[in-house]
């Protein structure tokens, strides 16, 4: 076996860039699928619970279809997740070589949680006509819990990359490995909560947007709104709407955390170039004097460290970080506004005035909310990942030390781009074929043939 020569060679700049783009692209793809994989079982259970409580067959039908869609997305998510574990080694061997043992336990736990999720997903799907309704409902709960746990375990690794601990470096060798300290690093709580809320928002708004389009079609055709579409909209949209204000609070927590623990990332996010006191809050073309100092330190004249106080070779590409951060904030606020509209309509409905807000303009905006939530998720991910550069492990290992030096990595990127583009198109087309409202409810016998 040849000796490991990662530090002796350097990857060509094109291959290094390709490795980063491939990782970003495959992760960005997986993150959306994983979000839906976490959220869809939750809204399915909400619908099934309503069906059990009210005996309403529309809810039962929604639950059944969502779970089938969840099955498809789960399978695609599982394989796109498997690709990521390959890429950890094929793209970033230097990282795995040195630190694999530090965060490996988190992935072992993630694997177990994922397997439990998969098994109960199978039980839930298979048990639909084979278990008593109440037991069947209960078998869905481990799917949701295991999904949340598995996402949290993965996030511990990313938060560890931002706040590495649980090991010592002695003459460049990793010693005193403490996997639990690595997992429970200070960034874990805030990143995990932020990501889980984001996933639920992505799933809620994406699923709701499908039904918003269907409701708009009902409007345009001048027919009464289909109760199937109405409920299919209300459940996921409400989930997204409940998470939106919470996410604003958690987002504030996250920004404060970054300010305290990764000041250079904070400076990039807020576009603070020079260290100064009484920093204004700049957002796109707006500027509020002293506001940034006030917001971060509760002191209008507080000093904030600027990017130029760090050597050039440790600064992240600050424009990308700032713009993606602004995109995330803008979309988050827009989603919050839409959530407020929905809450207001709900409140009026409860008071007995007017029906729920099925206003076409609301529905048009809601139809865009799915895309908006996905873009916000990707923008937030870009902020935290690009904001950590040039480090793969913050302050400890630079990304170029981690990359595979084999020539030709960029061709891997091209192949991956093509395969994933086809995969995305196929997934959407399969889901579209499944989306059509069934004229007759699927019979159990038919179902068996399909899955068998």
């Amino acid at each position: 076996m040849t000796t490991f020569v990662i530090l002796a060679d350097a990857a060509s700049p094109a291959d290094f860039a390709a490795a980063r783009q491939q990782m970003a692209f495959t992760l960005g793809f997986h993150i959306i699928l994983a979000s839906i994989g976490i959220g869809l079982p939750a809204i399915t259970l909400l619908a099934e619970w309503r069906a059990l409580r009210t005996g309403d067959q529309v809810y039962a039908e929604l639950a059944r279809r969502w779970m089938k869609a969840a099955g498809v997305l789960f399978a695609v998510g599982a394989v796109s997740g498997t690709v990521l574990s390959f890429e950890m080694g094929t793209l970033w061997p230097g990282f795995m070589d040195k630190y694999g043992q530090v965060f490996g336990a988190a992935f072992a736990l993630e694997g177990i949680a994922f397997f439990i999720e998969a098994i109960f997903m199978g039980i839930y799907l298979y048990g639909w006509d084979r278990l008593p309704p109440r037991v069947h409902f209960l078998t869905g709960i481990p799917v949701v819990i295991a999904g949340l746990l598995s996402a949290s375990f993965v996030v511990t690794v990313n938060s560890w990359m931002n706040q590495p601990q649980g090991f010592k470096l002695v003459n460049g060798e990793v010693t005193d490995v403490d996997p639990l300290a690595a997992m429970f690093n200070p960034a874990t709580p805030v990143q995990a909560v932020h990501l889980i809320l984001a996933s639920l928002m992505v799933c809620g708004f994406v699923v709701a947007s499908v039904y918003a389009v269907a409701l708009l079609r009902d409007h345009r055709a001048g027919r009464p709104l289909d109760p199937y579409h109405k409920r299919g909209f209300a459940i996921p949209f409400t989930l997204g709407a409940v998470c939106a204000p919470l996410q604003v609070l958690v987002g504030d927590w996250a920004v404060r955390f970054v300010h305290d623990n990764q000041p250079i990332k904070f400076a990039a996010m807020e576009g603070v170039h020079h260290t100064e006191a009484g920093v204004p809050f700049k957002f796109a073309v707006f500027e509020i004097p002293n506001a940034l100092s006030l917001m971060t330190s509760f002191d209008a004249n507080a000093t904030i460290r600027g990017l130029d106080s760090w050597p050039e070779d440790v600064r992240p590409p600050d424009e990308i970080v700032r713009i993606s951060f602004e995109i995330m904030i803008t979309l988050g606020m827009a989603l919050l506004a839409l959530a407020t509209w929905w809450a207001f309509a709900w409140w009026r409905h409860r008071k007995g005035r007017e029906g729920l807000g099925w206003n076409p303009w609301f529905l048009r905006l809601a139809a865009l909310a799915g895309v908006g939530a996905c873009v916000a998720m990707e923008a937030g991910w870009t902020t935290t990942e690009v904001g950590r550069q040039p480090w793969i492990v913050y302050g400890v290992m630079r990304t170029e030390e981690a990359v595979n030096t084999a020539p030709g990595l960029r061709f891997g990127l091209y192949v991956v781009l093509v395969v994933y583009a086809v995969l995305a198109v196929a997934t959407v087309s399969v889901l579209r074929r499944m989306r059509r409202r069934p004229d007759e409810p699927a019979t159990p016998a038919k179902e068996l043939e399909v899955v068998g």
Binding site: V76, T82, G100, F114, I116, I123, Y126
Partner: protein, 300 residues
């Protein structure tokens, strides 16, 4: 037994499970491609995982264990063989998604994708395994070609053996007869293909002997139509090939091993995980085996 020894044992166990279960899935994909008869394909689709390709869990387990327990070995293998391993990963993507898409929206393109990627993935993995075992250079070398073909053949053989029983359980006599013929032919072919490997490994080593005996017994059991027993002997014949290859590989594991503190947490997690996983998997299996007649339509 030291912690790295336990970790190595677990990795080999995971690899064996991946070969015996995941490998059979790949082989089933190959037969799905080769046998264009709808009856055969239906048996194959029925025999495969309930909702997704759960057997890749073994692969993920092996990778996580390797990078946790022997980080430099993982980094070295993955970076050196990134091309065949990336192809294998893309094969898994294509296969897994085509499989689930075909269930919900059948189309010929998914069927073809499923079949072709079912051959690509085990070929690439087998090529890498052989190169590691023989300290060879590249997956395109003779050793790589040999490993790729042998692994694909083993998968096809295991799948054919398993599928006979599945076909009979479904009362499909035509497919059962054909899978038996496939099993006999591939069994002989893989046995002949394994010979050069056995010669380099040392024909009289215990593993080679066990593999050869199990292979011959399997052919006898196939001839005698003992379809349940042959599953065991065929599995043994295949797994011993893997163990033999692992024994050949010249990996400096002691120098590469992770700290005990890292492994202790992983072992503990696996132990606790197994307490939840085993009963729930048993439940899923029972539910999956339950015949349609026993269904109630309570929720329907």
């Amino acid at each position: 037994m030291s912690y790295p020894d336990i970790a190595l044992g677990l990795i080999l166990l995971g690899l064996s499970a991946y070969l015996l279960f995941g490998g059979a899935d790949f082989g089933a994909g190959l037969w799905h491609l080769v046998s264009r008869r709808r009856a055969d394909q239906k048996v194959i689709e029925h025999a495969m995982g309930p909702l997704w390709e759960a057997n890749h869990v073994w692969l993920i387990f092996v990778m996580v264990m390797t990078w946790t327990a022997f980080p430099p070995v993982f980094a070295d293998i993955m970076s050196e063989h990134w091309i065949p391993l990336s192809l294998a990963a893309l094969g898994i993507v294509a296969r897994g998604s085509a499989f689930v898409f075909a269930k919900d929206a059948p189309a010929a393109v998914y069927s073809w994708t499923f079949g072709i990627s079912s051959v690509l993935t085990p070929y690439c993995m087998g090529a890498v395994a052989a190169v590691i075992a023989t300290s060879g250079s590249s997956w395109l070398s003779v050793a790589g070609l040999y490993g790729g073909l042998l692994t694909t053949g083993l998968c096809a053989y295991l799948a054919a053996v398993y599928l006979i029983w599945d076909a009979r359980r479904l009362g499909e006599d035509g497919p059962a007869t054909r899978f038996r013929a496939y099993a006999l032919v591939t069994g002989v072919a893989v046995g002949l293909l394994a010979l050069p490997g056995a010669l380099t490994l040392d024909v009289l080593s215990p593993l080679t002997v066990i593999s050869a005996v199990a292979g011959v017994v399997s052919l006898g059991l196939l001839a005698a139509r003992r379809y349940l027993a042959v599953r065991v002997t065929a599995g043994l014949a295949a797994a011993t090939v893997l163990w033999g290859a692992a024994g050949l590989a010249d990996l400096d594991l002691d120098a590469a091993a992770a700290h005990d503190s890292a492994l202790r947490v992983v072992f503990f997690a696996l132990g606790v995980g197994a307490l939840i996983l085993v009963p729930s998997m048993t439940w899923l299996f029972i539910l999956f085996q339950r015949s349609p007649k026993e269904q109630t339509t309570a929720a329907g």
